[in-house]
Symmetry: C2
Subunit: 300 residues, 2 copies
């Protein structure tokens, strides 16, 4: 069997359960947006995330280096947003052929630095390695989250409202290189509300929402007519394209009106849309979203 | 200018001084074995390291996957040894072509897990990405070190003895895939002695010792006849081959006899050899080691 015959979820399922985990120390197992672990600190959890982008896979050869650096930093930071965690330190690994222009690499680091500075993250190290292959940038980020504020895909309850931030679809045109992780929004949410489950939308709602539902052991129902569409995007784009890097979260309907009012006041320029709700595991609810979308088999 | 025209040290010198560093939070700047940063913990420092190995660069195509996994985990752990830090958590990024055999990947992870377990490190996450290029494995490790025990390449003093653990040279035959990072030895050293500066020998004594001397702002003199040679290795191999993953450290000569006696008792199967000493920056001392070795220009 070849690696390409398995999706990443399936592959990690096969590899990760056998990894050595000190059960006491690890709060969230792999497969979630970030790893969240206990340390000697009583109030805070350590949060870890690594992410890589590869030329020809995550960005095309002609992409300007600043944007590549921005994306390489912001992708793992978006996972911190999903966890409602505060990123603090980053390590950068650059794999690049020897004939890579130094000017390109400097511009890449300018993008990395600009993105890190945006969220007060310190780039504290890393390494460079020559490769016979395409350029790859791997970014590892470490930070923390208070024990009473950290979120994962687990914890969504039957009856919860489902909200998404921003607009979905059409991200591959430009937004995927210039997005702003929703860290400020996520931290505000957990400061002011009881959020039950959260994730960031990187692979598209049609892939990601089933993951949240599966982790929370519930079903879901969404109203595709309500999806907040990027100008020019269609429902199909919003569901299956990915790279939106918006937040998807579950919250009790009791908080709905307070949330909507407070959000509009705090973030007047960013939409917040109720797109549906969590329900008992119902094939009908699931099928409604998924029919025709290639990733649905991953929702199990 | 192309990337290949610069050594990694020179490249990082160009890229890293401009990185955003919160001065208060960062104890050691990039370029050392690990990044060492302050957190809200008063007694302990957070230690971070990332390292990647690439097929065709760090291992050849035919290498068995278990050994590749072992090496991918042990290389950053050797940097923890250099810092006298305790590794705790690891993230693994696997970049591999879609046609990679799943069996190969499983064996790779078996090597990663075995190596992690050896030092009670929990693999808490990571990701896989398909690539059109060669297989690459990036490992990020996070842990801690007590504030009064952490070591770097800085701190060596004029007159200090220079010691190395184990045997040098010939590592490329087999040892580079099966070495044991000297974490236990390093932790024992800082528990029982005042070590002034330390690093692990990954690029060869001829490259690494000048780095320690430069960071400590001193010169050095070694007695090449005293170098502890792996069976079959010559002095030249010990100086220029690299991948020994042994410790090099500087300690006051006042501690010499106590160190040698206690070491022999604690680690009877691992040699500890005094190879020379640190001195005032003397061109003669430097030239003695370096003449004829390609990496010497990096010692500045």
């Amino acid at each position: 069997m070849k690696l390409g015959d398995l999706g990443e979820d399936q592959l990690l399922d096969q590899l990760l359960p056998r990894l050595p985990l000190k059960k006491k120390a690890v709060v969230v197992v792999p497969g979630h947006d970030c790893a969240v672990v206990e340390t000697h600190d009583r109030r805070k959890l350590l949060v870890l995330k690594t992410d890589c982008i590869i030329e020809g896979v995550h960005f095309s050869r002609g992409t300007n280096a600043f944007d590549v650096g921005w994306k390489a930093m912001m992708r793992p930071l978006s996972d911190f947003a999903a966890t409602s965690a505060v990123p603090q330190f980053a390590l950068i690994t650059l794999m690049a052929p020897e004939q890579t222009e130094l000017a390109w690499v400097k511009e890449l680091y300018r993008g990395l630095r600009r993105a890190a500075t945006r969220f007060e993250v310190s780039i504290v190290g890393g390494e460079t390695s020559s490769t016979p292959g395409p350029i790859a940038i791997s970014t590892s980020v470490v930070g923390f989250v208070e024990k009473d504020r950290w979120l994962s895909r687990r914890g969504g309850k039957v009856g919860d409202d489902l909200f998404v931030t921003g607009w979905l679809g059409g991200a591959l045109k430009q937004k995927h290189l210039q997005f702003i992780p929703r860290i400020a929004e996520s931290r505000w949410l957990t400061k002011n509300f009881s959020i039950h489950a959260m994730m960031d939308l990187s692979d598209g709602l049609g892939t990601d929402l089933p993951r949240l539902a599966r982790a929370s052991k519930v079903g879901f129902k969404i109203d595709t007519e309500k999806l907040p569409l990027t100008r020019g995007a269609k429902i199909n784009n919003a569901i299956s394209e990915g790279e939106d890097y918006e937040l998807l979260f579950a919250i009790s309907p009791r908080d709905r009106s307070r949330l909507e009012r407070a959000w509009a006041k705090e973030f007047p320029n960013l939409s917040l849309t109720r797109i549906g709700s969590l329900n008992r595991k119902s094939a009908i609810g699931n099928r409604k979203l998924s029919s025709g979308y290639i990733h649905f088999q991953q929702s199990g």
